[in-house]
Symmetry: none
Subunit: 419 residues, 2 copies
């Protein structure tokens, strides 16, 4: 089945917003065996939306629209769709009650504009939005499906997963397709490719390997589609073949793989800490709290994370972590000596069993010839040993912070595995 994604909003055309929605949707649909054959974006005018919908429906079995469903005046998608589907607008009490409940829960009165939010085209099947106010809508016309979703990313994502994908799979017969994803950190795409070349060459036609690189990480995704006529246990057979390939791939690069599917490095570190009954503290300089944020993004982190200090100044490194001033003067804060002292100091300051410390030059300024922007030292210590690593990343501040986060968590992971 072919799908067309239509995004609505002037902000997309003038480039004020980068369209991440349609990329996310393309990925999810693809993972579920549905093919996106076209995407388009139109502005917030009735004429543009009408033409966009009509063109989109010409070559696709289903059109998924995002944007233009909010309560404000520039959001005209809903009325335009009602017109296109020749449908009356009717007040939808269930939706109004849901929105009312949403406001009650957060202790606010329901704004008058919400009556409009709950007024919907009669012909639409309403897709309840549990994470926002604007519902999704599902229309059928001449054998095709037209779906309208809000443009706010997490609302769109919720509706795609809870409503749209399951309904599309039911409506159109989806072919068995399975995925397995292995997660690697701290090694580049081409180096990984070299190590698994022979594996790639022996893969059968119906199993594909994709490299999905992100900052400091590469996900390796194996996708299997059922090759022949569909038999009763097609999915089980396909899963067995795919798992055998996954095991073969894992055996080639066990040192690079930290997890599977959607696990994050912070989650893996958290699980290891729980298993070993240890508490981790962090002392950050150039990452400014980013690593603590990664760790505490995981629910239940309080069980193994007492806290963190962000010591941006020399004074704080001395005061909160007990790093000797003489050491800072002699070696500088961006040094092997400094991060070792910070990690050891953090063990005591934070009452931790294991401590991570980071000090570097995030940029864009502050570099010197022997310590250029992007230089980062990190250490992990417990009461018996310390490991230290130095990396030189690039010139972009945010990228340096994010890359450091990945490398630092991976260093903690390896330290815990050897503990």
């Amino acid at each position: 089945m072919n799908i067309h994604i239509l995004t609505i909003g002037d902000e997309l055309l003038i480039g004020q917003i980068v369209d991440t929605n349609s990329a996310w949707m393309g990925q999810q649909l693809n993972l579920n065996g549905m093919r996106v054959t076209g995407k388009s974006a139109v502005g917030d005018t009735k004429e543009a939306i009408l033409e966009g919908v009509e063109q989109a429906g010409r070559n696709a079995d289903a059109v998924i629209m995002t944007g233009g469903l909010g309560p404000t005046k520039d959001d005209i998608t809903k009325k335009t769709l009602a017109e296109w589907f020749q449908s009356e607008m009717v007040f939808h009490p269930e939706t109004y009650e849901r929105i009312e409940g949403y406001f009650t829960k957060v202790g606010r009165a329901i704004p008058p504009a919400m009556r409009d939010q709950a007024t919907l085209p009669e012909k639409a099947l309403v897709l309840p939005n549990k994470v926002g106010t604007a519902p999704g809508m599902w229309f059928e016309n001449a054998g095709k499906v037209y779906i309208s979703l809000p443009g706010v990313p997490f609302e769109m994502e919720y509706l795609m997963q809870a409503e749209v994908i399951p309904r599309l799979k039911q409506r159109f017969e989806a072919r068995p397709i399975l995925h397995r994803t292995l997660l690697t950190a701290c090694e580049g795409e081409s180096n990984i490719a070299r190590r698994i070349e022979a594996f790639e060459d022996q893969l059968p036609e119906n199993i594909k390997l994709a490299y999905l690189p992100a900052l400091g990480q590469v996900r390796l995704r194996l996708t299997a589609t059922w090759p022949g006529p569909i038999v009763e246990d097609a999915e089980q057979q396909l899963a067995a073949r795919l798992d055998a390939q996954k095991a073969a791939l894992t055996a080639l690069i066990p040192d690079l793989i930290y997890g599977e599917e959607n696990t994050s490095l912070a989650e893996v570190v958290g699980q290891l800490l729980l298993q070993k009954g240890k508490k981790l503290g962090t002392a950050e300089s150039c990452t400014g709290g980013y690593v603590a944020h990664l760790i505490t993004s995981i629910p239940g982190a309080s069980a193994y994370f007492p806290g963190s200090v962000v010591t941006y100044s020399y004074e704080m490194k001395h005061k909160l972590l007990g790093v000797p001033n003489a050491l800072l003067q002699q070696y500088g804060a961006v040094s092997s000596e400094a991060v070792q002292a910070m990690a050891l100091g953090a063990l005591d300051a934070l009452g931790a069993d294991v401590a991570l410390s980071i000090s570097g030059i995030a940029g864009p300024d502050g570099g010197t010839p022997d310590k250029p922007v992007g230089t980062v030292w990190m250490a992990v210590a417990d009461r018996t040993r310390v490991v230290v690593e130095k990396h030189v990343f690039g010139r972009d501040r945010l990228k340096n912070i994010q890359l450091t986060g990945t490398y630092a968590l991976n260093l903690v992971r390896k330290f815990l595995l050897e503990s």
Copy 2:
């Protein structure tokens, strides 16, 4: 003049790549008074490209295509365009020499595939690419312009700035268009809409207001287009009218506006701290370092940010911030009393002039009937006063952390304005 952007490549449809190119192009064209009226993406097949070009040309004066010009086999844009414009492919010696020079400069032999790169449709005006191998192409057909550019971002950007925009401005008379964006925090779209309803109703036809919501923030964008025949000082006149509307809008909601254009809240807070010569420290519990990360994402933050403590446990709140154990036992860590004590403790612990503290229940677990998940207390203090706020957000951990970040920085901003 109306422009359509057509991006070519399977990787865009399956979401393997987020399309940042077309957002950048939209911004640049818009800044130059050209209107992007549509965008579309098609896959790497001849049929899809042909249909995409034809549809794109239907409503636009110019079509700008990106992607599909590289030397590899899946890049078929060039041949497809030659066919569509009924043009022979001819070897282009100037282009070949330019590519040869490019390889000589980096000390490599020119690969054989480069003869193909220099073989171009005869009817194309060649746009020389000084930063890569694939040239851009400019076609004219039935009064319309069709431009094909490589998909590599910096090559596309070079060609847009050096060739495409100047040529388009010459070819079509560009109409003045101007934008002003006001940034608001901590108020919902519909409540803002209610407060500025009368303003919206009085806007002239040629000035539009758009609401661009994100988590905890709404950007208000005013866009003005020149309405009549173009006069010499059209742009100045338009700017004056737009700025008058911007001032009127600002006057209605001064309490909600924290900045303009692309500033972030963390930047505004940083500027205020620099202006007032004050240092900010943060003591975070449920946000786990996220606010410190936001603050330190801004280059130069070390001038006003000595550091932060993340005190996840009662023990750390007591040890690092001096919060009395009795207070924590009596009121709990998620309380007005606790955040006040944390903020006062942080002033001393971090040697700060102003301190922010946050304590709450990020979720998904840990809520109680009187302190549900999403409950967050925050305080800002200096040595003379403390302000405290309580919010109840939702059930999603990451959203709660991010929303708290916005609300907390906005509280610091308001505190500094009154200092």
